[in-house]
């Protein structure tokens, strides 16, 4: 029977795993609450999700039945290892960051209002069971297969790779996608003891509730005035597409969360920056194929910051920088490689690679570019224009502010991810307009928070004119 108590128990377990990981990561009595601020719930939830996902994958790999009692012990161990491992990761960016956030009642009011709104929104969204779209046919479908067939050796691989009938797609559509959200849903099923239809979205919906709080924390740490940063954050979190991430398009919330965590890591003390970056990259590659593109963009953005901010006596590719960069990305690379190996073993291919490109041509590039500009960068009839305005703000910012680490990182990240998405959609074997309507709004929502943070540069104050103590490296 579908019950909120089962769902809350599963979510409570996930939060507990996250707290265990944070205890190992921060080694502080407050579990890093003071240092992470509004971003604490997202970091905790992400660590818990990774612990649930990794331990669930282990149970599935050993053909063990998915039950709460079987799931909890490996999840606790994985959570501890995640936290302890993250503590040992050092960010390649050596710049110090003083991370005292601005104390502003407006931010607390905004956070409280957002929390009330999303609780109401989640209650609304759970009014409808999801039975179509990617959520149903990819994530929920995989979760149902995984849960129902757990403990039954061989069936999972057989079902995933089998188009049961000629000319019909596998019933687990896009079987080659990463597994994190499916494993989170299977965790809900495990606590309910059966496949349920209403509460199963909670673990992914909560990502949609928590990443805006983390974005608010980034804004609080900016030296730009609240009257400038608050509308940017507000417009983004209330924009139709991200808000819909709380109901049917939930899987994009985890990707947005990863992007926000990557940017948030820039504002952290350097002791924790690398660990949060590694966590964000793990979250991204375990969630969607786009995670690999964002990881590549992270590498370019990190390099851009390095080029601009390194000490004059150091080479760009100094040994320490290269080794630390590899250390941050290594866990995500391992997960990516394991996932690709499993797909190879099961004979699964990404849907964009499984048929010849017979229709696309030069016009695809033009059409896709027009789509990017008019629908996602400068769509003035909607808050989607936020990205374009934010990037204009970044360009108009004083040169010194553009070169500071956080806005520069955010701007390069946005540019690289947006360009990659553009190239993928422009070379897609599917009709470009259909592809754009289907995927464009979702994937361009992924990187919109990066544009917002880049925009903080416009009015960021110089350290010597700020009334508060000097803050993070970029002031944004």
């Amino acid at each position: 029977m579908d019950s909120y108590w089962n769902a809350l128990a599963a979510c409570g377990a996930q939060a507990l795993y996250g707290a265990i990981a944070l205890a190992a990561f921060t080694r502080r009595r407050d579990l890093g609450l003071h240092a992470l601020g509004f971003a604490w719930p997202l970091v905790c939830w992400s660590l818990g999700a990774l612990a649930v996902g990794a331990s669930g994958a282990l149970l599935a790999a050993f053909d063990l039945r998915l039950t709460p009692t079987a799931w909890a012990p490996p999840a606790v161990v994985v959570a501890f290892l995640l936290g302890a491992g993250a503590r040992r990761v050092t960010s390649p960016d050596a710049a110090p960051a003083r991370t005292a956030p601005r104390v502003g009642a407006l931010w607390w009011i905004a956070a409280a209002a957002w929390t009330a709104l999303v609780i109401d929104w989640i209650a609304l969204a759970n009014y409808l069971p999801v039975f179509q779209g990617d959520e149903a046919s990819i994530w929920a479908a995989k979760a149902k297969v995984l849960f129902s067939l757990s403990g039954d050796p061989g069936e999972l691989a057989t079902l995933l790779s089998s188009d049961r009938l000629p000319d019909h797609r596998s019933h687990v559509h896009m079987a080659a996608y990463p597994w994190l959200v499916s494993l989170l849903q299977a965790h809900q099923y495990a606590w309910a003891g059966e496949v349920v239809h209403f509460t199963v979205r909670l673990p992914a919906q909560l990502f949609g509730a928590l990443w805006p709080l983390a974005l608010m924390e980034i804004a609080r740490r900016s030296t730009a005035p609240t009257w400038w940063t608050l509308p940017l954050v507000g417009a983004l979190v209330l924009a139709p597409i991200p808000l819909r991430g709380l109901d049917t398009g939930q899987a994009m919330s985890t990707v947005i969360a990863g992007v926000v965590l990557l940017v948030f890591a820039r504002t952290l003390d350097r002791r924790w920056r690398g660990g949060v970056e590694a966590l964000a990259l793990l979250l991204l590659v375990a969630t969607k194929p786009e995670g690999a593109a964002i990881m590549a963009a992270w590498a370019v953005a990190t390099l851009a910051v390095r080029v601009v901010s390194r000490p004059a006596t150091e080479r760009v590719f100094a040994r320490v920088f290269v080794l630390r960069s590899i250390a941050v990305g290594a866990p995500a690379l391992v997960v990516f490689a394991v996932h690709q190996a499993a797909n190879l073993a099961w004979g699964l291919e990404h849907h964009l690679a499984d048929r010849a490109d017979s229709t696309s041509g030069a016009t695809h590039f033009v059409t896709a570019f027009v789509n990017v500009m008019t629908r996602h960068v400068f769509a003035f009839d909607a808050t989607a224009a936020l990205a374009g305005l934010a990037l204009v703000a970044f360009v108009l910012a004083p040169a010194r502010r553009r070169r500071s680490a956080t806005p520069l990182f955010a701007a390069v990240l946005w540019l690289c991810v947006a360009t990659t998405y553009y190239l993928v959609l422009a070379t897609s074997p599917y009709p470009v307009e259909w592809q754009w309507v289907t995927a464009g709004p979702r994937i361009y929502a992924h990187v919109a928070p990066a544009a917002v943070v880049a925009a903080f540069a416009l009015l960021a104050r110089e350290p010597d004119e700020a009334s508060e103590p000097v803050r993070s490296d970029g002031g944004a």
Binding site: M1, L124, N126, L165, P166, H197, T383, A399
Partner: protein, 172 residues
């Protein structure tokens, strides 16, 4: 230092920022209103006062007995063929309460496949499915009425029947 000596350029920057901030504040409110308008009247009240059991009855409605029948009679690896009309362009286009589309997704991992109604075609699909598959037919459009050779009914309800396909070796 640049910021220490505000000039006309800084004034322009600030004017741009103010214009954007004002527009975005307006856009925030507009987006929130639009987001709420997309829900049907009364759904907010129902969101807080309707139990999950009541939601189950309300939203699954005619689908629930179909799902229960599929779950009770078929195993998770079963293949359930659900014939649909040729005019349907997608599973969810079915006029009868989206039953095929919904049951396809909600009954997973059992596969519920929509095929066209030509008898030779859907029977051929059943034959092509593999010798070791356990095949079922979820008939929600009456395609098996008067044509139930090799079919054994296991469950039925208003407007639907769940039938097992009997193999030549006698197993269903």
């Amino acid at each position: 230092m640049e910021a220490a000596s505000p000039g006309p350029v800084d004034a322009l920057r600030r004017a741009f920022a103010i214009a954007v901030a004002v527009w975005l504040t307006y856009a925030c409110v507009r987006s929130a209103v639009r987001a709420y308008e997309k829900w049907p009247d009364g759904s907010h009240e129902r969101a807080w006062t309707t139990s999950l059991a009541e939601r189950d009855a309300l939203m699954l409605g005619p689908i629930r007995p179909v799902l229960e029948a599929i779950e009770a009679h078929t195993d998770p690896t079963a293949l359930v063929l659900a014939p649909i009309r040729p005019s349907s362009t997608a599973f969810v286009d079915i006029a009868t309460h989206n039953m095929v589309g919904r049951s396809r997704f909600l009954a997973l991992p059992r596969i519920v496949v929509g095929v066209d109604t030509e008898v030779t075609t859907w029977r051929a699909r059943a034959r092509d499915a593999g010798a070791n598959e356990r095949i079922w037919v979820l008939d929600m459009i009456g395609v098996t009425v008067g044509d139930d050779a090799d079919l054994v009914e296991h469950a039925s309800g208003p407007g639907w029947r769940l039938l097992a396909v009997v193999r030549e070796d006698g197993e269903d």
